[in-house]
Symmetry: C2
Subunit: 326 residues, 2 copies
Amino acid sequence: MFRWLLLASLVMSTAGAAETPPIAIVIHGGAGTILKSEMTAEKEADIRAKLEQSIKAGHQVLQDGGSSLDAVTTAIRILEDSPLFNAGKGAVFNAIGQNELDASIMDGETLNAGAVAGVKTIKNPIDLARTVMTHSPHVLLVGDGAEEFAKNQGIEQVDPRYFHTERRLRQLQKIQAKEKLRAEYRDSWFSTVGAVALDKAGNLAAGTSTGGTANKRWGRVGDSPIIGAGTYANNQSCGVSATGHGEYFIRAVVAYSICARMQFENLSLQQAAARVVKQELVEMGGSGGVIALDKDGEVAMVFNTPGMYRAAIGRDGTLQIKIYQD
Amino acid sequence: MFRWLLLASLVMSTAGAAETPPIAIVIHGGAGTILKSEMTAEKEADIRAKLEQSIKAGHQVLQDGGSSLDAVTTAIRILEDSPLFNAGKGAVFNAIGQNELDASIMDGETLNAGAVAGVKTIKNPIDLARTVMTHSPHVLLVGDGAEEFAKNQGIEQVDPRYFHTERRLRQLQKIQAKEKLRAEYRDSWFSTVGAVALDKAGNLAAGTSTGGTANKRWGRVGDSPIIGAGTYANNQSCGVSATGHGEYFIRAVVAYSICARMQFENLSLQQAAARVVKQELVEMGGSGGVIALDKDGEVAMVFNTPGMYRAAIGRDGTLQIKIYQD
């Protein structure tokens, strides 16, 4: 009798495991010339701890049966609130000493999407991007108009000084003093943040948030708020969040291109991401990387720079946190 | 002797024809619910005449050995300068009675691109988009920053009243009085303009220019200035300019998606354009259309609305000007 019960229990458990839909989440905190020689043990520990906090919070949402949109938003909010990354608090300064923030989010089930560019008072731009998606007939709102929409919607606004950090101010002063915009520019996307998640219902979502490039001028907008370039999600193919030299990422339509290569060229997620990031972008001269997930919970973290802050919890539940090339 | 000369001349002429690289150009003046019942003979004649002037000017550039970028810019400037279309002079008004203009351009040879959104004083936004491409390290500039860049570059600026037209003001008043934004919104992309050209060197270029949607709020940006959504060009596949309900065109990454389906799925230009416009967009609920050219000079003009203002001069030199479904 005991043996029968045990057997029945094992069968049920196995059946249950086979039927459990996969969940997975992957995040990034930017790609660039992250050199071990310039990294202190303390800074590395801080960054790893914040990536771990972010991905665990997002994964918990998925474990609790929450949506991939909620997981992505939860993970990105934590990175936006940290001064360690170029998004929300700690964003880079533009050429006239302001923090101008961009963000986008996309729902792979419905292909709904929302994005904001050039906002200056929104504590968590990813929340505003999501509200544009859910509470406006639009996809992309920019500048003062986006702030007015935020006010109408009761999105948390802060004094622009909230975003200021000493580190980023020194970075701006250094760039401006040396007048070597082009040289510094190369890595200024460094520490944009993003997340992609797959929930129990099988839905993918992706989001990205950034302060753009340090010392940017003329209302420059990069790839992060551009659906197709910085962010894309479609349950039929994959979800992607990108970080890199935005001008190249826009021209290569990076996020959507990875999904399109899976869908039309029958490449695997890893193959599609590698083709775009390690081949197409390299040929164009565009540095950066992507994180991506497909509907089976396969994870890709691909970059053509020395490093990319990144973390993943795949469908087997294993946590990875990495900074440099493997 | 005479017969020999004639034969030699015929052979040379045939050989010459075979070696002459194809040139082609296609333009649009927007898609939407263009109903014969609401069109006067006079208005239709005006629109046909302006489309003819635009496409012939662009084609002349190509015949003279000019670049596809010059042909696209030339054709679009003429449509921007005409009050008949929703671009440049004659653009729609936003919710607070301003004309906010967006434009983009892309070079299929280099994949360089430029775009502007939300500008209010630029006489020809397509010229500013091109200057962003050629004279800035950026792809997309928005709002006041874009105007400042224009000033630095000596781009022609005008008093915002230059863009005002009585017809568009009445349209705004009608929408606002009836408070039926959603109902009117459906067709407000109607008369965005765009052009795609193939030059003797085999290079494709595409551009798009618009006033966006009437009564738009909150700094709304549609697909026209988004590289990948409203405009894309790549010599390896095709050039596309789109016009339609921008939010859907962004989410479907319409312009790039047509190129991607040619490149990765081996569809013909016509098949790829039909797949995206008549199938994918229809399933999503997105109305509008595209014009496109491939590197052989094949022309596609595909839309899922009752009409699209359009004209083409294909590689055989034949001029077509059309408004309704064939």
